[in-house]
Amino acid sequence: MTVVPSIKRDYITKLASEGKRIDGRSFNQYRPIEIKTKVVNKAEGSARVKIGKTQVLVGIKMSLGEPFADSPNMGVLSTAAELIPLASPDFEAGPPREDAIELARVVDRGVRESEVVDVEKLVITPGEKVWIVFIDIHILDYDGNLFDAASLGALAALSTTVVPAKRFEAELPEGYPKEDYPLPMAEPPISCTTVKINDYVLFDPCFDEEIIADARLTVATDNHGDIRAMQKGLSGSFTQEEIQKVIKGALDNGQEIRKQLNHSTGK
């Protein structure tokens, strides 16, 4: 357990000192990204995202329910992630652990705080009946950088989600549209993740880079160049300069990824 990572670590840092990465990328470069939407039928929306060999499937289900007591004028978003044993020999069956919980909560905040889904438009009867949007993240193949793959998957799945008004016809009040319609969405912020190994900061870490990383930083930026969410992880630290460098790299990569997302969701 401890010998192999240590050898890998030496190799990866040696490469980094020469400005190189194990798969030939530059420090700021992403692996190829592939986004495919509407990949399952029963879901109201779905997307499969590949970043390199990492593969994530996100499905959206909607149902009717009560709003939270402290937000009667908002629909409900609920995000769950499962690190199912399908995706990695290290993932175990059972209730989600802290890694899966952090992943789900970061994706959730990315969607919620950025107000990409207009939750006020999900209200049917204030304080009584609203749409609940379930975002379920399935990790299918794990080769690093789940944060970006899961966020991107969630955004792509939401962007193609159709509100199943017809299926819930009987439970909807008079005057409410009974035909399915697209989920109202705003321009999404894009999440970009880096890891720090020694003093090198690498975007879109692959599995081998991730397991030896000292620290992790995720930054979500919008199409105005503003910052919408950040999350630092692992027990290493960042300096202020490094943080600023990560933000700038996130803005650049975010623009490219946003184009690809919009293209794949037909926007």
Partner: protein
Amino acid sequence: MKSDIELINSEGKRLDGRGPEDLRKIKIEAGVLHRADGSCYLEWGGNKVLVAVYGPREALPRHTQNPLRAIVQARYNMAAFSVEDRKRPGPDRRSVEISKVISEALEKVILVEQFPRATVNVNIEVLDAEAGTRCAGLTAAGVALVDAGIPLRDIPVACAAGKIGGKVVLDLGKEEDNFGDADLPIAIAPRTGEVLLLQMDGHFTFDEFNHAFDLAVKGCHTVSELQKEAIITKYQTVAEEVQE
């Protein structure tokens, strides 16, 4: 549950246009995942399943080890979004039972004696569910086991027959499963015809049962050919990549 829907008409035509002995459309792809030791993606009518196999590797915690042979742990899981009304994540009683009968069926064909103290993990994820997911999952597991290079006596394969509108038919679809008279999913080792999995619900006369059983076995053999094609396609692709 009975219904007024005519599931099969007097000419033997079913709701989706199939005849009594027709399978739904099946598509199988081997080796679709990077981390898994073996994998398979399978579509069977509206069902979509993905299977990843890990192992043989040391069984942990240790008290689960069998000193004489490998244990086989299949885990059948439905994605929350695979059904009309969202399913709560995590195992329920139905998935625990299906995991158990699939584990037992696979154990018969894996050469478990070769790997004492080991475990073979078979993760079956149902991404879209539309009647017959346990047959789809077990069939995909067979391919994924081969892809993982696990030594097998035979490639296990599954198919169901059933009864709708009083008639015995192959491979029930969704409406047929909900409103039909009986369902008989089986899995076999195709070379010997040994029955690895068998469940039945509903109402069969003795003759109907025999008819349905024969039909299901026939279905298994048809699906078995598709499994083999998928495996060959995978090896050809790999071979071509190596040559390039």
